[in-house]
């Protein structure tokens, strides 16, 4: 009987080797070695080997009887297919949509005291809205570079390139270089794609000071220190076309940013990351719509430099570091922006110019708690301080003090609560309610219902 088994294995080995891939070579090699060892005999082991051989015979038989196009059951990694599709990049697609019920008309939404920062700011349109469908295509270029593009197809049928960058994969000493268009590494939330946000929208301070998210068209150099404590330094240079900068016709660097991140564990259950970042960029005729003292719409433009500091802190806690049952994520950021330059009032008609200086800041603090598997609840508080914007065409100059009612000193706030239900790693249904006091007067009650689905390649998220 033992002899027969060994004989069966001997005929099987070449058969399987011819038939298919190198995967079988390993287990059968082991099998042979095990058989050798077992010549000394051990009843239990031989019985098991017989079972394994019987299994192999059975699978060999099925493989023979099946047409060659059907892949036999073996590790996918070993069946590397040939042909033009073999090198297809990883694809992932995010489907998103939001229903919004807003007590205030979103058309006249404004963050009081702040220059409007772009079209994407605000709660969005009422009713059912298709969100951004994010399509990401990513792969290694060669042994030296990785490349990825994320395109956002908006509900209004426009396509925008959110990110399109290459990144080095062959550098050592903790160095990484990234080039192309990418979300800047400043702050914590700036680099996070919309589908991974813990709330439907960005904190007010990101909306007011960075136009939601700041992307660079440029290059980034990062260096990770050779310590067990996580210490990361980054430098970026780019076109600065994103708010608070503008496109400029200049050969030099228009925007530069730098950041340092620190992080570590606190025992088995908690970890943290903290950072400090600075963004310097320039604006040239950065236009914005406003109303003058008489309530007449006017167009104004700012030219000058703008400097933004960001301090961020994130803490995650889960019992024994296992977030399956419960997890708490606490996160806060403080941003402060200084803008100095010239303002042109009513560019179409009066075109009055004067100097402009503002120091504006804001912060948010949020906590998201997964209180049972698949359910998370969150609370976020937003606070902004517009400061006193000094415009030289005001008192003593050419215009009365109420010429910029939209830029009067204001302290907008907002409170948001969120509940989401994650049926799997790939789907999320969310409800959010916000008391938004960003406008000069009154509270905007905002209800959001959102779905987020992730298709294709399994995503990997940063801390």
């Amino acid at each position: 009987m033992n002899f027969l088994t060994i004989a069966a294995a001997r005929t099987l080995v070449p058969l399987l080797l011819v038939m298919s891939s190198p995967v079988f070579a390993d287990p059968l090699g082991d099998l042979r070695a095990e058989l050798e060892a077992l010549k000394a005999s051990n009843a239990l082991r031989i019985e098991q080997l017989e079972q394994r051989i019987a299994q192999l015979e059975a699978s060999a038989a099925t493989a023979r009887s099946e047409p060659p196009t059907v892949a036999p059951a073996m590790p996918a990694a070993a069946v590397a297919s040939s042909g033009p599709n073999a090198f297809n990049p990883a694809l992932s697609l995010i489907l998103a949509g939001t229903y919004r019920a807003l007590s205030g008309d979103p058309a006249d939404y404004r963050i009081a005291g702040f220059v409007p920062s772009g079209s994407e700011v605000g709660p969005g349109a009422r009713g059912f809205n298709l969100g951004e469908s994010e399509l990401t295509i990513a792969a290694n270029v060669d042994p030296y570079f990785f490349g990825a593009v994320t395109a956002a197809v908006s509900g209004d049928d426009s396509i925008s390139v959110e990110e399109a960058f290459f990144r080095t994969a062959a550098l050592t000493h903790g160095l990484t270089i990234k080039g192309g268009r990418f979300f800047s590494g400043l702050g914590y939330l700036n680099g996070v794609h919309a589908h991974a946000w813990d709330f439907v929208d960005q904190p007010l301070v990101y909306q007011a000071l960075l136009g939601n998210q700041f992307a660079q068209d440029g290059a980034q150099l990062k260096w990770l220190a050779p310590t067990d404590l996580f210490v990361e330094f980054g430098l970026e240079a780019g076109s600065g076309r994103d708010y608070p900068g503008t496109t400029r016709s200049a050969n030099g660097l228009n925007a530069a940013s730098g950041f340092v991140h620190l992080g570590n564990d606190l025992g088995d259950s908690a970890s943290w990351r903290s950072g400090l970042s600075l963004l310097r960029t320039n604006a040239e005729n950065r236009g914005f719509q406003a109303t003058d003292g008489a309530g007449v719409p006017v167009s104004n433009a700012f030219t000058g430099n703008t400097q933004t500091w960001v301090a961020d802190f994130t803490l995650k806690w889960a019992p024994h570091g296992n977030p399956t049952e419960r997890q708490l994520k606490l996160q806060g950021e403080y941003l402060r922006r200084t803008e100095t330059g010239a303002l042109t009032f009513d560019t179409d008609v009066r075109s009055l110019a004067g100097s402009y200086h503002s120091e504006q800041s804001g912060w948010y603090l949020q906590g998201v708690y997964q209180f049972r598997p698949r359910w998370r609840a969150g609370l976020r508080y937003d606070s902004l301080d517009s400061g006193d914007t000094r415009i030289a065409i005001l008192p003593g100059g050419l215009l009365p003090g109420f010429a910029f009612p939209d830029l009067q000193n204001a302290t907008p706030t907002r409170t948001s609560v969120m509940l989401d239900w994650n049926l799997s790693e790939f789907s999320r249904l969310r409800a959010q309610f916000a008391w938004d006091q960003a406008r000069l007067n009154g509270t905007d009650h905002q209800l959001f219902l959102q779905y987020l689905f992730s298709l294709g390649a399994h995503g990997a998220h940063k801390f």
Partner: protein, 301 residues
């Protein structure tokens, strides 16, 4: 004279810059691979485990502390088969460490060394959280440990050629001890053959196959999909027909679900260490199997 001073200075700087022969830095994604690397590398390796037995290796965060470890690692020992897909790619991309990128000698995947069970013929997310390459929880079959150990020994010898002989000798010693232990475990486990069990998630498949246990049911309708109450009701009536001897759960699993079922089907819950460190007895890889078997044999006494 000046030349020789410069020469001495340059030599001194060179000597200062040449690091003392440091231990090979190994970042293992699980406590099991960390234990194996320690068995095989002894004091020639400096091993850090990215996770503990109380974590689900599939669901951990790409913590800053782990990025820092990946930056300094000479070797990453991972399971592969998409088990660490949610966080290891971030560590690798943030590390700025070309030595440990997939395809380099500094990147080792255990799943590449053994034949995986439950390789799906086709994959679709409607089937739950399945792994296209097969079931990645391969550490609970000692034969897999032996196979992975052979490959890992060879890798250590390749990376640290100066100590190659040390790794070969230590590897052979481990294989010998492991084989003896395996024979002992298999003798011990003979009464477990054909014993019916219920599992939570299908992460005991390798243990079940090795010991010839009989998996009657899993408490998840599909991998990673929690059971609905109607599924559980069907399960309870199914188990009334074919009562299990025990219900298995891992150290990192919450006990609520298994306790609930145990009460209804009158079978004991057996908590298994699942990974090194999961129980006091599972101090190392040998202890992992000793303790697992002791716990499995307990209800049969």
């Amino acid at each position: 004279m000046i030349k020789s001073v410069f020469g001495a200075l340059a030599l001194g700087m060179l000597l200062a810059a040449t690091p003392a022969p440091a231990a090979l830095k190994v970042l293992a994604t699980s406590a099991d691979w960390a234990a194996l690397a320690t068995e095989l590398g002894g004091d020639k390796v400096d091993v850090y485990a990215a996770t503990t037995a109380f974590q689900d290796v599939h669901r951990v965060d790409a913590k800053p502390s782990l990025v820092a470890r990946a930056r300094n690692a000479d070797l990453i020992v991972a399971t592969g088969a998409e088990l660490e897909v949610g966080w290891l790619p971030v560590l690798l991309q943030e590390s700025g460490n070309a030595r440990v990128q997939p395809g380099s000698n500094g990147y080792f995947e255990a799943a590449r060394q053994v034949r995986l069970l439950e390789v799906p013929a086709s994959v679709d997310r409607s089937m739950g959280d399945i792994h296209p390459d097969g079931n990645p929880h391969l550490q609970l079959d000692p034969r897999n440990i032996a196979t992975v150990a052979r490959a890992l020994s060879a890798r250590l010898a390749l990376l640290d050629a100066a100590n190659a002989a040390f790794y070969v000798a230590r590897g052979n010693d481990f294989q010998q001890r492991w084989q003896q232990a395996q024979l002992r475990w298999e003798k011990m486990a003979a009464p477990l053959k054909g014993v019916g069990v219920v599992v939570m998630h299908r992460d005991q498949s390798y243990l079940i196959q090795w010991l010839g246990l009989r998996e009657i049911a899993a408490m998840e309708p599909k991998p990673g999909v929690p059971p609905s109450s109607s599924f559980l009701a069907t399960l309870v009536s199914k188990l009334a027909q074919d009562p299990p001897k025990m219900i298995l759960r891992n150290a990192y699993n919450d006990s609520k679900a298994t306790d609930w079922l145990a009460e209804r089907v009158h079978a004991p819950v057996v908590m298994l260490p699942f990974s090194v460190g999961g129980t006091a007895g599972a101090r190392d890889l040998f202890g992992l199997f000793d303790d697992t078997l002791n716990r499995l044999l307990e209800p049969l006494k």
